[in-house]
């Protein structure tokens, strides 16, 4: 609702996307109210490590925004609508330059220019970086600029306020939001001309992930439950290299591989020797061997499945679900300069010095490609509601490339800001100024809170959260089976039922976490169903979504966006075609193409000469020119080796599935032991 002539936009979330939008709206002379569960400087964007992509082409490699676009669409297995991806890639160099001007200490070349490093899914040096804490540095730069506008009175921050719901008028138009202050638990209605969601990912749905603790997906789930369409929820990125921990899975950045880190396991199963005493020829650099061109820098979904499979086959280090990520061949000084921050994290939480001892890593839930459905101007289907950053579904398709998240956050914020202003300018202020819609929604939220406060059932909300996380991690991550997905949805329904019987175990409501967590949990459970059932519906393998029973990408039936809408009970699904007007879909195959790197060639040659890898390993390597060139052009060649395995079994698919299901369980698909 405009005060005077000024436009007032509410932004939910103060990470990179939210701050980018806030800066642009304030710069255009309008007012921003910025809501964040934590002080914005502590948002999850700080966790991004490796860098930000932009085809600046300073390395004489002939890089271009079009190649960036091609890599992004191809890396995303052609599920992204292409026009916004192209726009983002074209904007990317100017985004990097802007951050340069805002004072981000990007690493430099000897000439004082921005340095760029390599990242997954591309053969170009396209990633600008500030040490290994690029997300932190970019977030701080925007935080500083927004503070400038805050000091000027154009931005008002509501830190420690959590969004509870949207305020929709009788025509379904978004008129603002209800938020709760986290100390007093005061609920308040905030009128706004437009609302931009910039709340990040839903990693907490999986219990432990690389996400920060605010990444519950709760606010986005609220939008979904109030009528916003949620798209491609089933596409969850599992990062190949995380450090398992009691409380979370800490990220080990892809930049470790971008700077030359090599992934390997001992060729001998259960080898008890320390890594330093295993000679080079007895190490299996399985990514370099299978993907000579991209090597350790294949896209994340592929690296994750390969690591998963290697552990499944019994090659995990010390017989466990872990592989080496080795940096010890790189001089310590170089490592400190380029990767210092992430090496410190490993050292701090594991105790080994990665400069001298190979790191032990395993895949962990990392990012949601899916999110709120938006059009090419970041507008959701609810008038007046926009979304930007990880919480929207655009750009990344079925798999996100490393260092594309930071650029997509800023791009989303920069597009959402003028779109929100434009919308607000044309807004019909027809009677919504009456206070009834605000009062009604406020009352509805107060009633929900009161009910939770009064409730005294036997269920423990933290136990329900743990169970949800375990089920989702076991069944809705790297490898997915329809029977297990069905069972997971049944489990979620059980948890939703049990949720009705929780009691808040805190009698002191001042600054309690019990009530906010209970509210988040309800929303997480609803969104978990969208993810699970979306996966169940998609009978193909594409990007991060992999079903051994449907190992091929199926463009004929599934080159389409999954749309979930809340029915009051659960999600109702529909599908929407993908805009592939710029780049026709082609088979995704990272085993070929680009330049060959001498070192990797040498590794492969040496393995062949030595008659290695061992039998089981060798079976996984497709014979040249066979699996990698399936007749069906829509087939995902990247998983060719598994297709081969499935074909070897004479008994048909059903039996294969059971067998493989058992294997997956052994490989840690189940975590019953905890």
């Amino acid at each position: 609702m405009a005060t005077g002539n000024g436009i007032r936009v509410a932004i939910v979330g103060g990470g990179l996307a939210g701050l980018a939008a806030a800066m642009r709206i304030a710069e255009a002379g309008h007012s921003v109210e910025l809501f964040s569960v934590v002080p914005v400087k502590r948002s999850h964007s700080v966790c991004a490590q490796g860098g930000i992509n932009g085809a600046v082409n300073t390395k004489g490699e002939g890089d271009s925004p079009w190649k960036h676009f091609d890599d992004t669409v191809y890396g995303g297995d052609f599920l992204a609508n292409q026009p916004p991806v192209q726009k983002m890639c074209e904007m990317a160099p100017s985004i990097i330059y802007l951050f340069d001007r805002m004072g981000v200490p990007f690493s430099r070349t000897t000439e004082g220019l921005l340095d760029f490093r390599r990242f997954g899914g591309t053969l170009h040096h396209r990633t600008a970086f500030a040490g290994a804490s690029t997300g932190q540095q970019l977030l701080y730069a925007l935080d500083e600029q927004v503070r400038r506008y805050e000091t000027a009175g154009q931005v008002k921050k509501y830190e420690h306020w959590e969004m509870m719901s949207l305020i929709l008028d009788g025509h379904g138009v978004c008129r603002g939001l209800v938020a709760m202050e986290r100390s007093t638990l005061e609920l308040k209605a905030f009128p706004a001309d437009a609302v931009i969601m910039a709340t990040g990912g839903p990693g907490l749905i999986f219990g432990k992930s690389t996400n920060s603790m605010v990444c519950t997906g709760s606010a986005v789930s609220v939008c979904y439950q109030q009528g916003a369409r949620y798209a491609n929820g089933e596409f969850i990125q599992v990062h190949p290299t995380s450090i398992p921990g009691e409380d979370k899975l800490r990220l080990m950045s892809e930049s470790a591989r971008g700077e030359g880190g090599r992934v390997w396991v001992p060729r001998q199963k259960g080898d008890k020797r320390q890594p330093s005493s295993i000679p080079e020829k007895e190490r299996w650099y399985f990514l370099e061997e299978k993907y000579p061109a991209y090597g350790n820098l294949v896209p994340r979904d592929i690296a994750t499945r390969e690591i998963f499979q290697v552990c499944l086959d019994g090659y995990g280090v010390f017989g466990e679900n872990q592989v080496y990520l080795d940096l010890t061949h790189i001089p310590a000084e170089t490592l400190d300069r380029k990767l210092g921050a992430i090496l410190e994290i490993y050292e701090m939480f594991v105790g080994d010095d990665p400069r001298h001892v190979p790191m032990r890593i395993f895949p962990g839930v990392h990012y949601s490609m899916g999110g709120l459905w938006v059009d090419f101007d970041q507008r959701t289907n609810i008038p007046g509601l926009l979304a930007a950053g990880e919480c929207d579904y655009s750009i990344h398709g079925a798999n996100r490339l490393g260092a594309n998240s930071l650029v997509s956050c800023v791009y989303g914020g920069f597009v959402a800001a003028p779109a929100a202003i434009e919308y607000a300018k044309n807004l019909q202020r027809n009677g919504a100024d009456g206070s009834k819609v605000y009062d009604d929604e406020l009352k509805r939220q107060q009633e929900i809170n009161e009910r939770l406060l009064k409730q005294s059932g036997a269920e423990n909300q933290y136990v329900i959260h743990e169970e949800m996380g375990k089920w989702m991690t076991d069944n809705v991550t790297v490898v997915r089976y329809n029977d297990k997905l069905k069972a997971t949805d049944e489990k979620l329904l059980e948890l939703i039922d049990r949720y009705q019987h929780i009691s808040l175990n805190d009698s002191n409501m001042w600054a309690t976490h019990a009530l906010p967590h209970a509210r988040q949990l309800q929303n997480m459970l609803q969104l978990a169903r969208v993810i699970t059932l979306g996966a169940l519906n998609r009978n193909e393998s594409r990007g991060a979504h992999y079903k051994p029973d449907f190992p091929d990408r199926d463009d004929e039936n599934f080159l389409k966006t999954t749309i979930a809408e809340f029915s009051g009970e659960g999600p109702v699904f529909s599908w929407e075609p993908v805009d592939i007007g710029l780049l026709p879909p082609r088979k995704r195959d990272y085993s070929k193409g680009g330049k060959q790197e001498t070192k990797q060639e040498a590794v492969v040659a040496s393995a062949k000469a030595a008659g290695l890898p061992p039998k089981e390993g060798a079976k996984q390597v497709p014979a040249e020119g066979s699996e990698m060139k399936p007749k069906d052009l829509s087939g995902p060649a990247v998983w060719g080796q598994n297709k081969g395995q499935v074909r070897d079994v004479d008994h048909g698919e059903a039996e294969t599935r059971t067998e493989r299901g058992h294997e997956i369980k052994d490989a840690g698909g189940k975590s019953d032991k905890l």
Binding site: P39, K41, R42, H44, C47, S94, Y97, R101, L113, F349
Partner: protein, 266 residues
């Protein structure tokens, strides 16, 4: 997917004589105006526990060590990777992040004490209100005055050495450890090393230099940079190893020069 791995990795780094349980003494306060009190909790020992994991365990079933039902202790947490700064508290007498405080490194056979930071208003239990630190950033204008966020090409060229020095200051996560450790900071009598280091960060930048004087004048008030007592606690307390004393030295020099020139200009 990862649970087994985690326990196995931990197994290789556990203690030789692990205790059965970890005892935590937590300084609690129901609300801002309430009296503080101590409560003791115990959680089963597991290798590689950090303080956050212990607190999560207690939150799930909040009973004191002697079996009395109580309210769950409240603390703040977010990234759990020591980069957001939110989970800072005083652990065994030292301000640090609770995510990176590993029980195995804290003499786990003895009770571990957790207290809220003392230099900031205590909201509840281990939660404090650090908004004063963000106000400092406003006051010293800790930003580069860009002309606009539209496309104006690349920023100024810089050598890697200059960038490396700025990068060190730019890693400040506003956690407050330096202020907790500083004997001068408190009751509004000293702006403190956190803000001074950000002035250094901005004043080193070629564009930032152009508005240097505004930042320096913000450091020259009664509670300004000259109140540093040179205890050097800040630099020892900083979890990000930021050269805070160097920043204070450099900015003190700059303010003196600024003062001189300011006087000459009159």
């Amino acid at each position: 997917m990862s649970a087994q791995t985690s326990s196995n990795i931990e197994h290789q780094h556990g203690l030789k004589n692990p205790p059965k349980e970890v005892v935590l003494r937590i300084r609690r306060r129901e609300r801002q105006d309430a009296e503080a009190r101590w409560e003791e909790f115990a959680v089963p020992y597991r290798p590689n526990l950090n303080i956050i994991s212990c607190l999560m365990e207690i939150r799930k079933n909040p009973f004191t060590r002697d079996g009395r039902a109580t309210t769950p202790p409240v603390w703040e947490m977010n990234c759990l990777e020591q980069v957001c700064g939110i989970c800072t508290m005083v652990i065994n007498g030292r301000a640090r992040q609770s995510c990176s405080a590993l029980v195995d490194n804290l003499e786990p056979h003895k009770p571990i004490t957790l207290e809220p930071m003392s230099k900031f208003p205590n909201v509840r239990d281990l939660v404090v209100d650090r908004s004063e630190m963000f106000n400092h950033l406003k006051r010293v204008k800790a930003w580069i005055e860009i002309d606009g966020s539209y496309d104006l090409g690349p920023g100024p060229r810089m050598s890697q050495d200059e960038v490396s020095e700025r990068y060190a200051y730019s890693r400040c996560m506003t956690c407050g450890c330096c202020l907790e450790a500083c004997p001068q900071y408190g009751d509004g009598n000293y702006i403190g090393p956190q803000a001074i280091a950000q002035v250094r960060l901005m004043n080193m930048h070629p564009s930032g230099k152009m508005t240097r004087d505004e930042r320096l004048s913000a450091l020259t008030g009664e509670d300004g940079i000259t109140n540093c007592g040179n205890a050097q606690n800040c630099v020892r307390a900083c979890p990000m190893s930021i050269p805070l004393t160097k920043a204070i030295y450099e900015e003190n020099r700059e303010t003196i020069l600024y003062g001189l020139f300011g006087w000459l200009r009159k």
